[in-house]
């Protein structure tokens, strides 16, 4: 078993102590926010003059708003302008964290699970960190490769990229509970969007960043 996994399992035992008195199906998860800032190139209709054909590239921006708009139509739900894309990772290590849309309604937070349409994957994570044993405290860097995939009727894309992440300690009720990675992923990838219900899909070449922020650890019933 790799040393990193042994160490992280050590965190799991520590975190497990914090939830001894809780129900058996309550787990600790890391809750982080995702922010997508992508630029897409797509092929526009060709043009020509008397001597030359022109193949024209169009450019488009894609942010969280666009992704949430697409999810709204897929799910038939209307989200507010405060809706956020959240990444929920199980502790101690989660190679396939879940994605939810977090919104507020009448002051109450509610999460809409969208993992079947919008997935995330940690393809590699190599840490260069210092872990203080007592109290448990982590600091350092990790070299991560993350992938995100959107699969909707109207649009889909898969992007993947490398990030030099900051490694810190996530706390649950004031106690160290998890190792948390935050940072900006430089991504590239491809996708397509549907022009219309009966129309052809338009391929898109994508590049940009995905920011992963936050180090909250929450107890969740699963």
């Amino acid at each position: 078993m790799p040393n990193t996994l042994k160490l992280l399992l050590g965190f799991a035992f520590f975190a497990g102590g914090a939830v001894q008195s809780m129900a058996q199906n309550t787990v600790l998860n890391i809750v982080q926010e995702l922010r997508f800032k992508l630029t897409g190139y797509y092929q526009m209709s060709g043009t020509e003059n008397s001597t030359t054909f022109f193949r024209n590239a169009g450019k488009v921006s894609i942010t969280n708003k666009d992704i949430i708009n697409l999810l709204e139509r897929q799910l038939n739900i209307i989200f507010t302008t405060d809706a956020k894309l959240m990444l929920i990772s199980a502790t101690p290590v989660d190679p396939t964290p879940r994605v939810v849309v977090r919104d507020k309604f009448e002051g109450e937070k509610f999460d809409t699970e969208v993992t079947q349409f919008f997935g995330a994957e940690v393809l590699a994570s190599i840490e260069d960190t210092k872990i203080n044993k007592n109290p448990l405290k982590t600091n350092g860097t990790s070299y991560d490769v993350l992938a995100f995939e959107l699969k909707l009727t109207e649009a889909n894309f898969r992007i993947q990229g490398f990030a030099n992440m900051h490694v810190g300690t996530g706390k649950y009720e004031g106690e160290s509970a998890a190792i948390v990675h935050t940072g900006k992923v430089n991504t590239t990838g491809s996708g397509e969007y549907q022009v219309s219900v009966l129309g052809a899909a338009v391929p898109v070449a994508l590049f940009g960043t995905v920011q992963v922020t936050g180090s909250e650890v929450k107890a969740m019933v699963e």
Partner: protein
Amino acid sequence: MRPAILLSGLALGALAIPVIVGLLPNATTPHSALFDETIGGESSQANESQTHEPSSLRQVGVPPDNALPQLTNMAAQVDESTAADTKEDEDRVQARVAELFELSSKLAPAALETLLAEVRNQNPEIRQAALDAISQSGNRTLIPRLLQAAEETEDADQRRAIAETVEFLNLPTLSEVMSETNNP
């Protein structure tokens, strides 16, 4: 005669060398002087009583042996306190970055003013977070103020970052493109 004069000159020169060396200024550096006066005071005095060497021949920058553990401890303490300060600064920056991103979904003028003000922050991470938050907002009314901020800065990297943000805001969004295509 000539050989006699030559021999006399050589003899005089040989006698002059120790005199000249004795007259050279003390060659201690501030660094080694610090060790003598503070950490290695006692031992340096002992060394002086045991050995007598011309100050000009003393090794520069070499502390007494018993000063090394104390120096190592001092260096470690400085490292720890520097690391703690750095961690606190990092936490403050991360907290501010999170606050700025919260503002990206707000339409209130005060929120937008805060974002624009932070575009000029001394900390490059906070500046970039403000620009990213403005990009997330998709608010094109901020473009003239961003262009003004770019003109007012002499930092080429800052100007480039602002220009990239303006270019991103000027792009049609995927939602707009799909909406136009579906509703021509």
